[in-house]
Amino acid sequence: MLFAAAPEKLQTPGVEFSALLPVLILLGGAVLLMVLGALLPRRSRFPWHACFAMATAGAPIISAIPLWFRTRDDGPLRVVADAVRVDGLTVFLGIVIASGVILTCLLADGYLRRERLEGPEAYVLLLLSAAGGVIMAGANDLMVIFLGLEILSIAVYVLAGIHVRRARSGEAALKYFVLGAFSSAFLLYGIALVYGATGTTNLTGIRSYLATNILTNDITLLAGFALLLVGLGFKVAAAPFHAWTPDVYDGSPSPVVAYMASGVKTAGFAAILRVFVYGFSSYQTDWKPIVYVVAVITLLVGSVLAVSQTNVKRMLAYSSISHAGFILVGVQAATERGTRAVLFYLATYTFTVAGSFGVATIVGRTGDNAHALSDYKGLAKRAPLLAFAFLVFLLAQAGVPFTSGFLAKFYVLGAAVDSRSFWLALVAMLSSVISAFVYLRVVLTMYGEDAEDGAPTFTVPAGARIALVASVVATIGLGIIPGPLWDATKTAVRGDGVVATTVDTPTQASSGG
C-alpha cells in the first residue's frame, strides 16, 4: 500500500473563472494575436491587427457589464483564495483601462503605418500590459499587485522602444526600464517589510490585523509603507519620483505615451487605493501626512516645470505629473467622496490625455520628431478640426467649465475640503492656475500665430480620427452630463468596498500569492 490511510480529497481553492473573465480575455487575445500574426501578412491594406486588438479590448468591457451588476447586488467576489477581489472598483477601472487600450490601438494603427513598423507586436504587448493593469485593479494581495505591476510594466518597457530605428525611442526604453525595475525593487522591499510586520501579504488580512492589534514596535510597518509609496509613486509619476517622466514621454512613440499616461497611471492609482485607503485604513494618521506632502510637491513640480518647456510632449509630461498630484489629493482624503473623485478623475483623464497625445502623434509627422511648440504655429489655419480637438483637450486639462476636467478637479477639491485639508486644496488651485498659463500658451500658438511658409498640412488617419472624435465627445459630454459617471463611482465604492469603515474577516488568513 502506498498510503497508510486512504488519501483525503485535496482541498484546493476554487477559482471562479467568470469573475476573472476580463483578464483571461485580454491574455488569451494577446496570445492568439501573436500566433495569428505569425501566420498572416505583416503589411496589409486592412488594419486587422488593430481591429483584432480592439475587439479583444472591447470584449472585457462587455464581459464586465454582468460583473458590474453582480458585484453591485451581491457585494465583492473573492476569488483565487482571496488573492483577487472583484468589486465595483475593479470593474470600473478595468473598463477605464480597456477604453485607454482601444483609444491607443486607434492611434497606433496610423502611427505604425506612417513609420513603416506594421506588425502585431505592439498590439500584443498593449493587450498583455492591459491584462496586468486589470489584475492590479482587482488585486487583494500585495504579491498580486507586484505581479500585475510587472506584467503591466515589462510590456510597456518594450513598447517604449518599439520604434527600433529611432535612437530616442531606445533611450526612452532603457531609462524607463532601469528606473522601473529600480522602483519595483523598492515596492517589493516594502511588501517584504509589511509581510514581516503583519504576517500576511493579503490586504484583507493586513487590514483586519492592523485594526485588531496594536503594534508595540511599528517601525518595520512604517518603513514598509514608505517603500510601497516610493514604488507606486514611480509608476504614477508622483514627485519626487517623477524624473523619468519627461524623458520617457518625450522619447517613446506618441501612441504609447497615450497609454502610459492613461492605462499605466490608472493601474498605479488602483494599487494605491487598494493598499493605502483599503489595506492600511487604520493607519491613516501615519500615511496621510506623507501622501499630503507628496501631493503638494507633485502639484507644484508638475505645474511650475511645465512653464519652461518648449517641447509639447515634455510639457504634456509635466502636466501629467501635476494631474497625478490632483489625483493624490483625492487619495489623501481617504473618504468615500475622495475615492469617488479619484475614479471620476481617472476615467475623464484617460480620454483627455489619450486625445492630447493623439494630436501630438499626428503633428509629430513621420519620424515623430516635430513636437516643438513652433511646430504648432498656425495649426488652426492648417488643420482647423485638429486644432479644435487639441483646444478642447487643453481647456479640459486646465479645468475650464463645461469640460470633464473642470468637474474632475471640482470633485477632488471638494473631497479635500470635506476632509479639512484646506491648504492642500489651496495649493491644488494655485497649481491649476499656473498650469492654465501653460495650456493657454499652446492655444495662443495654435490660434494666434501664423504658420511659416511651407508648413505642412496634415492628413489624419481614419483610426486617429475616430479616437479624437470619441475623446472630444467624452470630454465635453462628461463635462455637461457628469451625472451617470458620478453615480457609477458611487456604486463602485459602495458596500464593503474600498473605504468601508467596518472590518470584514478574511476568508483565509494565510497567504503568499
Partner: protein, 105 residues
C-alpha cells in the same frame, strides 16, 4: 565569544538590508547599464533573503512562495532588459549610460 552565537534572524535581515543598500547605491552611481542592471538584480535578491528570513521567523510558507514569484519576475526582466540594452548598443561603441543623452530637460 561572538563566533559561538548562532546568527539570529536579525543578522539575515541586516545582511539583506545591506545588500539592498549596496544595490541602490550601485544603480545610482554606476554608469554602465549592464552593471546598473546587475545592481537591480542584487536589490531583488536582497528582498528574497528578507522574505525567506521573515517566513522562517513567522513560520509561514507565504514568504517562501513569494520568492518563487520574484525569481520568475526577475528572469522576465532580465530577458526584456538585455534585449533593450543589446538593441541600443549594437549601433554604438561601448556601453555607458552617459552616451544616452538625447533626452534632456
Amino acid at each position: 565569544m561572538i563566533l559561538a552565537a548562532a546568527p539570529g534572524p536579525e543578522w539575515y535581515l541586516t545582511l539583506s538590508a545591506l545588500l539592498f543598500a549596496i544595490g541602490t547605491v550601485g544603480v545610482l552611481i554606476r554608469r554602465n547599464p549592464l552593471v546598473m542592471f546587475m545592481c537591480v538584480e542584487l536589490m531583488l535578491n536582497a528582498v528574497n533573503l528578507t522574505f525567506v528570513t521573515l517566513a522562517r521567523q513567522l513560520d509561514d510558507l507565504g514568504g517562501q512562495v513569494a520568492v518563487f514569484f520574484v525569481l520568475v519576475v526577475a528572469a522576465a526582466e532580465v530577458v526584456v532588459g538585455l534585449g533593450i540594452i543589446v538593441s541600443i548598443f549594437r549601433r554604438r561603441q561601448g556601453a555607458t549610460a552617459d552616451d544616452l543623452s538625447l533626452l534632456k530637460g
